[in-house]
Amino acid sequence: MNGARLKFRDPELAKSLAATLAKLVDDIGRPVAVMHVCGSHEQAIAKFGLRSMFPKNLNVIMGPGCPVCVTDVPEVDEGVVLAGNGVRIATYGDMLRVPGTVRSLSDAQALGAKIDVVYSPAQAVDIARKTDEDIVFFATGFETTAVATAAVIVSDPPKNFSVLSAHKYIPPAMEIVAEMPESRVEGFLAAGHAATITGTAIFEPFVERHKLPVVVAGFEPLDILAGLVELVTLIRNGTPRVVNAFPRCVSREGNLNAQELLWRVFRPIGGRWRGIAHVPNGNLRLRDEYAHVDARRKYEINVTALWDFSPPQLANQCICGDIMAGIRNPIDCRLFNKECVPETPVGACMVSNEGTCKIWHLYGGVPDLSALEVAS
């Protein structure tokens, strides 16, 4: 990383936003921690070296914003078991290396399982149309991505197609973080494109309950800086509310058509998020009306057979959960960039391009001092 990375559309504006941010944190006069919940935000922060522009007293933490990373071990096991039973699995590439209890999908593939990488649920349906084999789409992603899965489910897919849903719903996870006793998070930066679907209104009850401000921000470096200025202003003024700092993409009510489809197909149920906690209403499962497309009802999936083996030793040392809860950083993990690298990930946060550990591995997440003069 070097200063050349800082390619801002408008460097002057970036500088003045950084100065405003510094002034606001100064006004508060103590360290402030805020959390964003989006892999793309972390990528932009790391890629454009934004942490070096943040005031020293402002800690911007990445929360559980990587859907692949919070896919729980037993969910991966379900995919592995199905694949082992001869079902062909179609899934996003990031899912292949996510560790299960004893193996990942990629290990299953090495043992002969048929796994297709797709970039869209529609591509999984296309595969099913061209074959007699059973195809299970192992679906992951937050609500934005779940809507696309819902769209193929209601479009009368072929009989040999079904969905193993590991979709997650982000608002309840914010509640969990807000309620963690050790959490110091004083405000949230919500992801622009997820809010495109849900609208900003979804955060209003959260703000009401926890008295923590939420600002919806875009992905441009300038959008992120502007979003943080809004957020820290609300913290300083002690006026928690929802602010839409990304109006060019997000409205208060969101995409109603998409919301209707999402809740027509899915219902929220509680479940564990890897490393985090049990998240009430955090998992999206198919409703009874779509039981015929639900892999969990179509097949008997017995994952307990996998659990006779003890989990790999190293995985016990993974602190992904603490990282996503904002309590620790990747560099606090003894395995980071040693035993745990993207080629041989120990924890799920090193797998996905949206995982904090992978992002810090790629770009380096610690403040980049060479670029500090930009902030002055």
């Binding site: 890629k47 692949v68 990031d94 769209a151 494109h193 495109t196 992905f219 060019r248 998409a258």
Partner: protein, 93 residues
């Protein structure tokens, strides 16, 4: 994974649109888009589905980040996500 990628609508055929992403033409599903779309509009594509019609006045701003990213190396995480989003749209047959 929710980054999405903007593209320009060339042609519409039922619920599918042919969309241009920096010279690459792909098929994007319009089932869940928030507003009616016509040729010439820009949409935000996520895993093969248009999730938003980008308002006229914010097209330039939206494109600029992606233009920076498209110039990045293959192994850049954000660039890889953008390419995956383009690959998520169907091939034009």
């Amino acid at each position: 994974m929710c980054l999405g990628v903007p593209g320009r609508v060339i042609e519409i055929n039922g619920s599918m649109a042919t969309v241009d992403f920096w010279g690459v033409r792909r098929q994007v599903n319009l089932d869940i888009v928030d507003e009616p779309v016509k040729p010439g509009d820009y949409i935000l594509n996520h895993v093969g589905f248009a999730i938003r019609r980008i308002p006229e006045e914010s097209i330039a701003e939206t494109l600029s980040l992606y233009e920076t990213l498209m110039k990045e190396a293959e192994d850049d995480a954000m660039a890889a996500d953008v390419r995956a989003e383009i690959a998520g749209a169907g091939r034009v047959s």
